[in-house]
């Protein structure tokens, strides 16, 4: 009994405290700027609501992270296929039964709580890939790795893209590539995937693309290529976001003083979620935005270090996959707000407002910590 208690404590003491600190900083930043992005919402009846919801989501997320840290990650790896199966079934259910918002069925109403199934499907996919690629069942550095991973990923990918939720679907591709890379897949096949991606992008942009993408998705991508062609339509967000970020200058305009944000040029409905970064970049300038990126860099470095020191290859792959998810979200989200990538609806991890996403991101963080506390150099007993 005493030993068990000791082991319990050692789990918490063996955590990656730098990562913990970084995440705490990111969460605090997120709360502050969700507040900043929504405090002027009085006239549309949103003031306060965003912020208090965010507080609750962060609290739920922390609970999830703690649970994930405490439970040995191998438990989840063991049941990865079930989780994967469940997520696929739920994704399939979302299509006919999901709650529709702006024409996209992404949320499943579970006893009054709206859950975004794709967020959990991402984690399930990473778990199953970590198990398959890291399990040693497949010959490393072989085409089989790529084929198997592709086959596993294609089902949730298609289901998510069909919601339609192109942003989340798009995140899966770099995540899988990252995992394959770490798992030791052959470079030439990874290069082939990259070429395929480029070809796919070209096909999407051609008029034939309307067979694959809905009109608004195509519009967003075309608008990305030339935002000024429709400044009040689909290009509006891209232009206003660039103005917000650019006008922030070096030091920013000060907390709660972002003109674009306060005056509503950054639409109030998306400012706390997908466009939280321009709010921060406008109010805190280049300095603040760079610090935020530094935070993500530190966190990703911590994740990679955990992957490095992981005791099992599957755990290492699991962490790499989660790092890939975080990185893909950060890069695509910030890239789209500063005009590097097309606008897609994708939140910024730990910072953006959003329930399911906050929960899955912090659960992912908990998984990473779970791997970290059970790392190779320091033996930690199972709980």
């Amino acid at each position: 009994m005493k030993k068990r208690v000791q082991a319990w404590w050692r789990v918490w003491l063996a955590q990656d405290f730098l990562a913990l600190l970084t995440v705490a900083g990111l969460l605090a930043t997120g709360l502050a700027f969700v507040y900043s992005a929504s405090w002027r919402g009085e006239e549309i009846g949103l003031a306060g609501a965003w912020f208090s919801r965010q507080v609750w989501w962060v609290l739920y997320g922390i609970v999830a992270a703690l649970v994930m840290t405490a439970v040995d990650y191998r438990f989840w790896l063991r049941h990865a296929w079930w989780l994967y199966l469940a997520s696929v079934v739920l994704l399939a259910l979302v299509l006919p039964l999901g709650t529709r918002v702006f024409g996209a069925a992404r949320w499943l109403n579970v006893f009054g709580v709206l859950l975004q199934v794709s967020e959990f499907a991402k984690l399930a996919l990473v778990l199953v890939l970590a198990r398959v690629l890291g399990g040693g069942a497949i010959q490393p550095n072989s085409l089989a790795m790529v084929v198997v991973a592709g086959l596993i990923a294609v089902v949730p990918f298609v289901l998510i893209a069909a919601e339609p939720d192109l942003g989340t679907a798009a995140v899966l591709v770099p995540t899988i590539v990252v995992m394959l890379l770490a798992a030791g897949a052959p470079f030439r096949w990874l290069a082939a995937i990259a070429l395929l991606g480029a070809g796919g992008a070209a096909a999407i942009l051609s008029p034939l693309g309307s067979l694959i993408l809905s009109e608004y998705q195509r519009e967003r991508i075309l608008t990305f290529l030339d935002p000024s062609r429709d400044p009040l339509g689909a290009g509006w967000n891209a232009i206003q976001s660039a103005i917000a970020v650019g006008s922030g200058g070096v030091g920013g305009k000060g907390f709660l003083n972002g003109t674009q944000n306060v005056l509503g040029f950054l639409p109030r409905t998306v400012a706390p979620t997908d466009f939280i970064f321009p709010v921060l970049a406008e109010e805190k300038g280049f300095v603040g935005a760079s610090l935020l990126l530094l935070g993500f860099a530190v966190l990703l470095t911590c994740y990679i270090r955990t992957a490095w020191t992981a005791r099992h290859p599957a755990g290492s792959l699991l962490v790499t996959g989660i790092a890939g998810l975080v990185f893909a979200h950060v890069f695509i989200n910030i890239g789209m707000t500063i005009g590097l990538l097309p606008i897609t609806g994708l939140p910024l991890p730990f910072v953006s407002s959003g329930g399911s996403f906050m929960l899955s991101t912090l659960a992912g963080f908990g998984l990473v910590q779970s791997v970290h506390v059970r790392r190779a150099r320091r033996e930690v007993n199972n709980v």
């Binding site: 006239e43 549309i44 009846g45 191998r74 790896l77 063991r78 198990r131 890291g134 399990g135 040693g136 069942a137 990252v178 890379l181 770490a182 798992a183 030791g184 660039a242 103005i243 917000a244 970020v245 650019g246 006008s247 922030g248 200058g249 070096v250 003109t259 674009q260 306060v262 005056l263 509503g264 040029f265 639409p267 970049a281 300038g285 280049f286 935005a289 760079s290 990126l293 860099a297 990703l300 470095t301 990679i304 992957a307 490095w308 992981a310 005791r311 099992h312 290859p313 599957a314 290492s316 790499t320 790092a323 990185f327 950060v330 890069f331 910030i334 890239g335 500063i338 005009g339 590097l340």
Partner: protein, 633 residues
């Protein structure tokens, strides 16, 4: 789980490192891009932000005043109390319609509280929301004290409403000197007073008035502030005002001091009471226009802030044409007043010295046409001075035929006829001095002696304006200086610095020998002061007045419509006032115009110079079929 190699970790460190480098590299590109946007191009984005969220509003400056010679305010500004709504406080989510409803609801309640009819329709509110979103919406203008008090009492129940003050043009003397002052109307939105002096472009222009006629129009650029004020407001994405960023107060327009004297103007308008006609009173010493009146008139206050279309149509439809300035735009045959020009031309030509005597049997036969004198039985033999005193036609026929039509036409032009005086009021007309060229062009005929006879007594095609007559009367009074009528004496800017406008002469004045002028002046004196003079009804006791009457037919031939003229100056020895008066639909110069001028001069001498006069009894106008006065038909 791992079955084949359970104990051997296969973490590929090199690949993880590669992964880390790729991730850091890509994050680095984000930072690089951020540097580009925020530091390198920061100013450009700042400019774009300002462009989309700042709106500038031009504030009109306060309009300068128009003062009379003694500083009485003829046109000024008064505050007008308005109730305005700040629409950003009325916005409701869920579309414009809900905001409009909310605004209308508030307006209904205010209307009830203030006991005032509602002046805005939902359509107006919608238009304002669409076009001038960040500006306050003015719901009521020009509220009286009671309405203001009632509003103040209820204002706290309606947040977003406010009492505001607008400056409104005011003419304290009402219709007095209306044609000279003119009136104002709303300026076109981007119509700055001086194009070029204000290179700024504004998003919104607050209503500003612009002069539409008279001095208000002629000196609009001086009266309006050269530089307007500016408010910069920050608007939100829906266009509502968020904050006022900066404010620059507008400049002030310059005041204009007229030569006009309210007392003279009043007397002049009294002389035209109930008539259609015009009077111009000038100072023969410098050309100052002491009064310029045209009757009937209008009240320029009716044009403020906007003239009701009903009133406008009424003014336009009025057969008596109250908007028309007869003093400068009215072209009339001068009748016998022109005989002075003819006589001076004849005398100056040297062919008809003052002592020349002609015999008047009551007519002059020229070929088969008989030109009559107004006195059918004739004046007998008389000299130049008496010809003026009695206004004998036949004498002038002879004199004109003797010196030739060209000499008369030349003298008329030298006296300022046939060209505008440059007084600076709109629609001034030049009149017409007919000559050979004119007759060939218009009538396809050559100039004949009959034309010369008609011209000599101010008939035929000859047309003059009252202001020309006043300039000419002033020249007779001062012995030959043709002053350009001076309406404005001084322009005083907002800092109190004045700029004098010096009196100027017309470029080609007449050259009269003093002997010849004396003959004419004495003739004019006799015409008033001799018991048998044609203008004796213009006599003012205690003052020696000199005058020449004139009567001319106008309108269709045989319509019997007559004009009465009188040109006068006083006092005879050192003239300070020159007067020209014309009245339409009159009997004759001697009976219609002379008494009016007497009344005018009497009042002027009493009020301006303190002359004690026994009040002249009101001279009743004789019936229309009464005795003839001055000129001939």
């Amino acid at each position: 789980m791992p079955r084949r190699r359970p104990s051997k970790p296969e973490v590929n460190v090199l690949r993880l490192l590669l992964l880390w480098f790729i991730m850091m590299g890509l994050l680095g590109t984000l930072v690089y891009r951020l540097w580009n946007l925020q530091v390198a191009q920061g100013m450009e984005f700042q400019r774009r932000l300002v462009k989309q969220s700042l709106r500038s509003v031009r504030l009109p400056g306060s309009r300068g005043r128009i003062l009379d010679a003694r500083g009485e305010v003829l046109a000024g500004n008064r505050p007008s109390y308005c109730v305005s709504l700040h629409l950003e406080e009325f916005r409701r989510s869920g579309g414009t319609a809900r905001t409009v409803d909310h605004v209308m609801d508030t307006l209904y309640r205010l209307a009830e509280a203030m006991d005032r009819p509602l002046e805005l329709q939902p359509r107006d509110v919608r238009t304002h929301l669409g076009r001038r979103t960040p500006l306050p919406l003015v719901a009521w203008r020009d509220l009286d004290e009671e309405a203001v008090a009632r509003f103040v009492e209820h204002a706290h129940q309606h947040p977003g409403t406010a009492l505001t003050i607008e400056s409104v043009r005011e003419y304290p003397f009402g219709p007095l000197a209306c044609h000279t002052l003119g009136y104002v109307g709303r300026a076109a939105d981007d119509q700055s007073p001086q194009a070029g002096s204000e290179p700024e472009q504004f998003h919104y222009y607050l209503p500003e008035v612009a002069g539409r006629s008279g001095v208000e129009k002629r000196f609009d650029g001086v009266l309006r502030a050269a530089d307007g004020g500016k408010i910069e407001v920050q608007v939100d994405v829906a266009g509502f005002k968020f904050d006022e960023v900066s404010r620059r107060d507008p400049g002030q327009g310059s005041d204009i001091e007229l030569a006009l004297d309210v007392r003279v103007q009043r007397a002049a308008e009294a002389a035209l009471e109930g008539e259609k006609g015009a009077v111009v009173v000038m100072d023969p010493r410098n050309g100052d226009v002491l009064a310029l009146a045209s009757a009937p008139g209008f009240d320029p206050n009716d044009f403020v802030p906007v003239l009701a279309s009903r009133l406008w149509n009424q003014l336009l439809g009025d057969e008596r044409r109250p908007l028309y300035n007869r003093a400068t735009a009215g072209e009339y045959a001068p009748g016998s007043t022109f005989k002075l020009v003819t006589l001076l031309a004849a005398m100056e030509s040297g062919r008809v010295p003052p002592s020349t005597r002609y015999s008047c049997p009551g007519f002059l036969d020229l070929g088969r046409t008989r030109f009559r004198c107004w006195q059918h039985w004739g004046h007998g033999s008389l000299d130049a001075q008496h010809a003026i005193r009695y206004s004998c036609n036949v004498y002038l026929y002879h004199a004109a035929l003797h010196c030739g039509a060209e000499a008369v036409q030349e003298m008329a032009r030298a006296c300022g006829f046939g060209q505008t005086t440059g007084v600076g009021l709109d629609f001034e007309r030049p009149g017409l001095v007919p000559d050979n060229v004119w007759k060939r062009r218009e009538r396809h005929d050559s100039w004949r002696d009959g034309d010369t006879c008609n011209l000599s007594i101010g008939q035929g095609a000859l047309l003059v304006t009252p202001i020309q007559q006043a300039v000419y009367a002033a020249a007779l009074a001062n012995g030959g200086t043709l002053w350009r009528p001076r309406l404005v004496r001084r322009v005083v800017n907002a800092n109190g610095q004045g700029k004098e406008i010096p009196p100027t002469r017309m470029p080609d004045g007449p050259r009269w020998s003093s002997a010849n002028v004396r003959v004419v002046r004495e003739g004019m004196r006799d015409a008033v002061n001799a018991p048998d003079g044609s203008g004796k009804r213009a006599a003012v006791p205690g003052v020696v007045v000199a005058a020449k009457t004139g009567t001319a037919e106008y309108g269709a031939k045989g319509s019997g419509l007559k004009l009465a003229w009188l040109v006068a100056f006083a006092p005879f020895d050192s003239p300070r006032y020159a007067v020209a008066l014309v009245i339409e639909e009159a009997v004759s110069g001697g009976t219609t115009a002379a008494p009016q001028v007497r009344q005018l001069l009497a009042r002027m001498f009493e009020e301006l110079e303190g002359l004690e006069l026994s009040r002249p009894e009101a001279v009743a106008r004789p019936p229309a079929t009464g005795a003839p006065g001055g000129g001939a038909a």
